[in-house]
Amino acid sequence: MRALEAVTRYEVVVGLEVHAQILTQSKMFCGCSTDYLTAPPNANTCPVCLGLPGSLPVINRRAVEATIRTALALNCEIPEFSKFDRKNYFYPDLPKGYQISQYDLPFSRNGRLEFDLNGEAKRCGITRVHLEEDTGKLLHEGAIHEAQASLVNFNRAGVPLMEIVSEPDLRSADEAREYVMRLRAILQYIGVNGGDMESGQLRCDANVSLRPAGQTEYGTKVEVKNMNSFRAIHRAIEFEIGRQTEVLDAGGRLAQETRGWNDARGLTVSQRSKEYAEDYRYFPEPDLPPLDVSREWVAQIRAGLPELPAARRERFMTRFGLSPYDASLLTSSKTMAEFFEETVRLGAPAKAAANWILGDFSRLLNADRKEIDEASIKPVHLQQLISLIDSGAITGKMAKQTFDAMYRAPDPGPALEAARGSTQISGDAELDRIVVQVIAENAKSVADFKAGKGQALKFLIGQGMKISKGRANPQRLDALLREKIS
């Protein structure tokens, strides 16, 4: 509510910094495995990622490739010359006392991400995509400030991490959330990131400021951290807009500071102000020579890019006649788009497939926090269910119940069969009437069958299915038709 009012008097300005772990087998500067979620603590470490004295980093070329791939998918320029820098600060999860990152010569800059929101075209500039290493993870005994002991797990230290920095081009919490969703889809499409926000594969910080409508200079910006879901991003920005509006309305001044989002309490809390801001003392990493990014290499990476969400969305609209809204939603996730295409390929009408996937299916998946490829329902099951409805065999209401049952079962097959079976006409008296009607209405086909044309019988069975609205048992129809005709 407060956020809505703000839009009228103040213009909202949001820029996002998204950190995305790169899906490589080995870490950024050593050969250790990147598996930090399932491995025992500190199992995947070595002198390099532990920062032991005398150890030296060696660049993981695949991580560089993934960064350039991402940058190209975001329409960035790729300079021919790039280098790594050291970002210096002390923290127990940072074993070297500095993070190898990129400062003034990142792998890419000047890109853009275009999307539509409620039918309106949006464009957000991408300042840069750069590459760095992730830190270890701290585990505190109790709350951080009261903990008597803290443990460090360095399995995550050195995992390749991309930072994707946007321009302050976003004008609402809705736009910001949509931007991150689109970005996540792109990263998944090109296979560089897992997309899971809760486990930290994808992290987002937001710079939020307000300025009086019509003013060109930006207002004081506040950095909001610790948002672990799309919902959190949206809520945190909404909250910040409200908070900042109140301060400004009361004639106050905003502090340039970092605030953390507290999801449970639904508010942001000040973490540190600019006066205590760290001086990271960036300087060129002397252990790594600068990199020449050859044009051939960039061309090769560009050639390997798959169809991106925007192109797929266009295709879904033109080829399947989907609405822009449906096409956007379906292509926001690679797995969902693939599920949809496969269902249609198996014979389901596109609109029906889209409705099911975006409706009941998404509702159930969201409730379970699951991805579509984790569900037991596969495209073939959905296609069969849709065909049962289309043939009139089951009602819409039954279909919904059936879908729920299919979704809950480890194997959707029995639920689907049960739906089919429960409505089948098995009484011979009713079937007899149908067969009589079919024979009466299709004299030519009956004659053809008698003349030995086997094809004709198939047609007659089909007619019987149609009259029964799909409820007849085709095997029984076959037997009865043969009996009556001969």
Partner: protein, 490 residues
């Protein structure tokens, strides 16, 4: 002559002739360490058992005539900045007390492959920061030529060990003269290879863009042999060069006839001892007599090399040394009420004064608002120095000068004046900044104390520097002089 007084090549011959065993040789050197170690304090750790085990293995190799290499069975000392698997490695610092690396430096692995024998870890200025070895976190090293004098630094322990017979040869590291200056002050040969020639993997870093490991030996040929063993590309060090390593011994004795040798006028600095200058002038004349043409050249930015170095090296060091916070290995102060306090206590107590001075210098130079004026400016100066050398090497094949402006000074003489101490390295530092190589070879005694002639050659021109140094050595007897502690050659 005692075994510990001999060169690698002499001993190699004796080993392959079965005149001596490596165990006998190792014993002889270990005995000498027992005898004079208390006087020089050259070692921080003597790895007696490891040495004897390696000597036995080398003897088996020699007996079976299997894969016998020039260094097989030769007792060598390692500067404490080099990591050796399962051997305490402290870089001369209290803050690394108790640290035992689970890995070895690439150069250590290469020497192991050669079948060399490791005598132990030699003392040095803490994190290689110093020119007198008085900044060791443990104890100072004494010059075997005169025990009240410094051996130079930072590789003072390695230098003193070779000069006192406590090692046949040693490895040092050179960031701003730390091999060449102590070599000159102890009357041995020391070489700083071109940056990238030798892998830095496992070298506890001081200044990553300047550090280079090199040989410290009795004579030039031994230096060539030891360099041959450690040089070459290493996939674990991205800054190591993939250029092929030439056969240094093949051209060693080619002489200087027809060579053009340059004498940078800027290298005759104010404050240079007249006797040192005289010795250098004599050395130049001698090389001219050997058939080299001598010409004066100019390296116009030499005077700003020292200030640039004291920005770049501390800046890198301030970052390289950030990892020593007491939480994972080495010294931990304990008693801090929170994380920051614990960091501060550990670093206050674990680092010595000079290290802290450089961390502060470097931190300041990299700070926001000062970066352009200091670090960036220093990098520009570095580029000018690189250009100076390039221009000079268009005209000449190698450069000649002193290694150090003075002979060894007394312990304590310069400890109260950091800048006076820094001036020791005024003619060695440009080679580190300029990405070229340099070697120091004994060129005389001043009041009974050795001094060195420095030969600087272009980047990856180690064979040129070695050849000039060898020609000088072959025409002189300076390298045969032995420190009183080592004893006169019989």
């Amino acid at each position: 002559m005692k075994l510990y007084q001999r060169t690698i090549r002499e001993l190699h011959q004796m080993l392959i002739d079965r005149e001596i065993s490596s165990v006998e040789l190792t014993d002889a050197v270990l005995n000498q360490i027992d005898l004079v170690g208390d006087k020089t304090k050259a070692y921080l750790l003597v790895t007696r058992e490891l040495a004897l085990r390696q000597a036995q293995a080398a003897d088996e190799r020699l007996r079976a005539k299997r894969d016998v290499r020039p260094l097989t069975g030769i007792p060598i000392a390692l500067k404490d900045v080099l990591c050796v698997r399962d051997v305490a490695s402290t870089a001369g610092s209290k803050i690394l007390g108790g640290f035992t690396p689970p890995y070895s430096a690439t150069v250590v692995e290469r020497l192991e492959g050669e079948g060399a024998v490791f005598l132990g870890k030699t003392n040095c200025d803490e994190f290689a920061m110093g020119s007198s070895n008085e900044n060791s976190g443990y104890w100072p090293v004494h010059n075997p030529w005169s025990l009240d004098r410094v051996p130079g630094g930072s590789s003072g322990g390695s230098a003193a060990a070779v000069a006192s017979g406590e090692a046949i040869a040693a490895l040092g590291s050179d960031t701003g003269g730390s091999i060449r200056q102590p070599a000159a002050l102890t009357g041995i040969v020391g070489m700083k290879p071109t940056y990238g020639r030798v892998s830095r993997y496992g070298l506890i870093a001081f200044a990553s863009s300047l550090d280079q490991i090199g040989p410290m030996t009795r004579d030039v040929a031994d230096g060539a042999l030891l360099l041959q063993a450690i040089a070459g590309n290493d996939p674990r060090d991205s800054t190591s060069s993939s250029r092929p390593v030439p056969d240094y011994l093949a051209t060693l004795t080619d002489g200087v006839k027809g060579m053009r040798l340059g004498v940078p006028k800027e290298y005759f600095v104010a404050g240079m001892e007249p006797a040192v200058e005289q010795s250098i002038r004599d050395a130049i004349r001698l090389l001219e007599q050997q058939g080299a043409s001598i010409e004066e050249v100019s390296l116009p930015h030499s005077d700003v090399a020292l200030p640039a170095y004291y920005i770049i090296a501390p800046a890198e060091a301030s970052s390289n040394l950030a990892r020593y916070d007491g939480t994972r290995y080495g010294f931990q102060a304990g008693g801090g009420r929170n994380l920051i306090e614990e960091y501060m206590l550990t670093r206050q107590q674990g680092f010595g004064a000079e290290v802290k001075r450089r961390i502060m210098l470097g931190t300041y130079a990299l700070s926001s608002g000062y970066y352009d004026a200091y670090y960036l400016q220093a990098q520009k100066v570095r580029t000018l120095i690189i250009e100076d050398f390039k221009k000079a090497f268009e005209k000449v094949d190698a450069l000649l000068g002193a290694t150090s402006p003075t002979a060894a000074f007394e312990l304590g003489a310069k400890t109260q004046d950091p800048v006076a101490m820094y001036l020791n390295d005024i003619i060695t530092i440009p080679a580190n900044l300029g990405n070229v190589c340099g070697i120091s070879v004994p060129c005389g005694l001043v009041d009974g104390l050795p001094i060195g002639l420095q030969v600087i050659a272009p980047g990856f021109g180690e064979e040129v520097a070695l050849r000039v140094a060898y020609a000088f050595e072959a025409a002189t007897e300076f390298h045969r002089a032995r420190s009183p502690l080592m004893g006169a050659a019989a």
